[in-house]
Amino acid sequence: MTAPAQSGPAAPVLEAVDLHVEIPLPMGQLKAVRGVSLSVGAGEAVGLVGESGCGKSITLRALLGLLPVPARVTGGALLLDGVDVLGMAERRRQRALTDAISMVFQDSLTALNPVMRVGDQIAEVPRRRLGMSKAEAHARAIDLMDQVGIPEPEQRYRAYPHQLSGGMRQRICIAIAMSTEPRVILADEPTTALDVTIQAQVLAVIDKLRVERELGLVLVSHDLAVVSQTCSRIYVMYAGRVVEAGQSLPLLTRSEHPYTDALLRSVPDPDATVERLASIPGQPPMLVDVPPGCAFAPRCTFARDVCTADPNPPELEPVSVGGSHTTACVRHQDIDLASGAVSAFVAEKEA
């Protein structure tokens, strides 16, 4: 059930501390997540961004205990209301996690059961988990469909997934996620498969529910613009680690990590034409054999010997004393990153 309002924004609902996930492969252990710490509070939206293969989806799945088979959590703690769930017995842990957390997946067509009416798919969870009667669960499903903005829910209750459009299907998935009355929603690229006009609507639905129900939201996306609009805090991941974290505005306007800066520069701007798009040379490292020190150093224009001197990857440290903006760049005080596009945007707004 929903927690009383006493837990302020200071107490995170869900917190991962130094989480490690490894996947055994024939050529060795693939260190998919290498010490990620993140937290989400009630009513808070946090974003997890990075390129494909950086470990953002694996991190998200680890939060719900939904890792694909050979992968497993090899270190760290997962705190739900301050209680470590990783120490619990398997069944208790799954129960605790799934009661509090729901997930919305990228591809709604594969996430839904193709031979079951969408309404029944929503009603199934309240019936099984909350012990509702058939009529109660039906009414609840209709109510949820209404809340996620599905018109004529009574008629669409009987529709099959293939009869609905992508946007409608994703709304059904959101309704299913909401049906357990979760406190945290994990959304893995929820709008990537949708058209832009529909994307805006689905994001609005998620945001409305977050505000109304004080839901915590962890949004994983490769689209920095989507995350910047939806989330108040952002974690930037690279090669299985968080390399920069902080409030959206300072992080995007005054990046303190060269990777964030390079990523921001390579996003094409829909409102201006540039002479040439910036890109990041090279490729992310293979996570079986991780290079010493900063994993971004081989691709970084600012890299010096100091970046790889320490074999351990650099830890996040605050940009200013006591600030919430943290970066894992050891040279962040020596280098000057003026994120081109976004700074220009802000300057324009201020002018």
Partner: protein
């Protein structure tokens, strides 16, 4: 980027000539797909099912050295249009011209090599069992591009052109990353020395940082080899960076066309406005783009073109095919005249911009 601002955006082939001649053109192209009736309908001998009109009367003209961006939502027919131009489908009606000659009855082998495609998915568009070198050699031999003794050299040149090491020729597609595979896809298209390159969502499957390198490569190659390009994408921001001219498609038709900066700067069709307004902006408030002034009243009732199959589709309920402007059910400024479908109408003023919207002609329509 070379500006083609002087070229008229007229889609008819006989429109006044621009700076350079047309290399590829289509006139009133239609591509319908038959839908097979369910057995119950066949038993009942009910009326035949209407075909899917994927491309429904499109006219386009691409000039030498020009990049035309083709944008629209999924299901609007942009991929079908590019595949029809390529000759992968036989068009239901209409004409495709290459360098002034009509390609009725399908392109010949010689013509085929002049229009090449870069596909979206670099994982499935390459043969996993052939090395890059074998793939390119096969093409060069079949089309007799260079003498057999020269094929090796030509393969190495192609690798240089797309920025891959020459050792790449001995490897198979699975040994490459997504960005490198897309480079191979581009090399494959360029092997035939095409005049026109059709890039169908060529960067959609890639990460932003890699996407930028491929876009830059395409722009460089276009200048270096004097290619013309049709750049098909759903990503408005990418199209803006690449294209000289843009055509916006909606449900099988072009609803707006014009120079890139004009269309993005001052979109005139309500659909173009909605599309450009919906692109998520960095740090903008979400409501700002979900937009009150960009209200999309019926979008909540299945605005998506792909939803047409749905028995709940607003389009099916509100109006049948061929009855008025196809954007009308979603249009915030629809009025009486929208019950007949508008052609592409030139905008008043000097800009070579056209929109298929009656408001363009109606001066009292405030929004035009």
């Amino acid at each position: 980027m070379s500006s083609q601002a002087g070229t008229p955006a007229q889609t008819r082939p006989d429109a006044s000539a621009g700076t350079r001649p047309e290399v590829l053109g289509v006139t009133d192209l239609k591509q319908y797909f038959a839908v097979s009736a369910p057995w119950t309908a066949r038993l009942a001998r009910s009326a035949p099912i209407e075909p899917v009109k994927a491309v429904d009367g499109v006219s386009l003209s691409l000039r030498e050295g020009e990049t035309l961006g083709l944008v629209g939502e999924s299901g609007c027919g942009k991929s079908t249009l590019s595949r029809t131009i390529l000759g992968l489908y036989a068009p239901t009606a209409g004409e495709i011209r290459y360098a002034g000659t009509s390609l009725s009855g399908g392109p010949s082998r010689a013509q085929r090599r002049h229009v090449q495609m870069v596909f979206q998915d670099p994982y499935s568009s390459l043969n996993p069992r052939m090395s890059v070198g074998q793939m390119l050699t096969e093409l060069l031999r079949y089309h007799k591009i260079v003498p057999s003794a020269e094929t090796g050299n030509r393969c190495r040149e192609l690798m240089d052109l797309v920025g891959l090491p020459q050792q790449a020729l001995g490897r198979r597609p699975r040994q490459f990353s997504g960005g490198q595979r897309q480079r191979i896809g581009i090399a494959r298209a360029l092997a035939l020395e095409p005049k026109v390159l059709i890039a169908d969502e060529a960067v959609s499957a890639l990460d932003v940082s890699v996407q930028a390198t491929i876009i830059n490569l395409l722009i460089d190659l276009k200048t270096e080899l004097d290619l013309s390009m049709v750049f098909v994408s759903h990503n408005m921001a990418v199209v803006r960076q690449v294209s000289d001219r843009v055509a916006v498609m909606y449900r099988g038709r072009i609803v707006e066309t014009g120079p890139t900066d004009a269309v993005f700067g001052a979109p005139s069709h309500p659909y173009t406005k909605l599309l450009i307004g919906s692109v998520p902006r960095m740090l903008a408030a979400p409501t700002q783009t979900a937009g009150e002034n960009l209200a999309d009243p019926l979008a909540a009732v299945d605005g998506e073109p792909e939803a047409d199959d749905s028995p709940y589709s607003a389009h099916k309920v509100e109006h049948g095919e061929g009855h008025g402007c196809r954007f009308r059910p979603r249009c915030p400024v629809a009025f009486d005249r929208c019950s007949t479908e508008p052609d592409l109408l030139p905008l008043p003023g000097i800009t070579p911009q056209c929109a298929a919207c009656w408001h363009v002609e109606t001066p009292d329509g405030e929004h035009a």
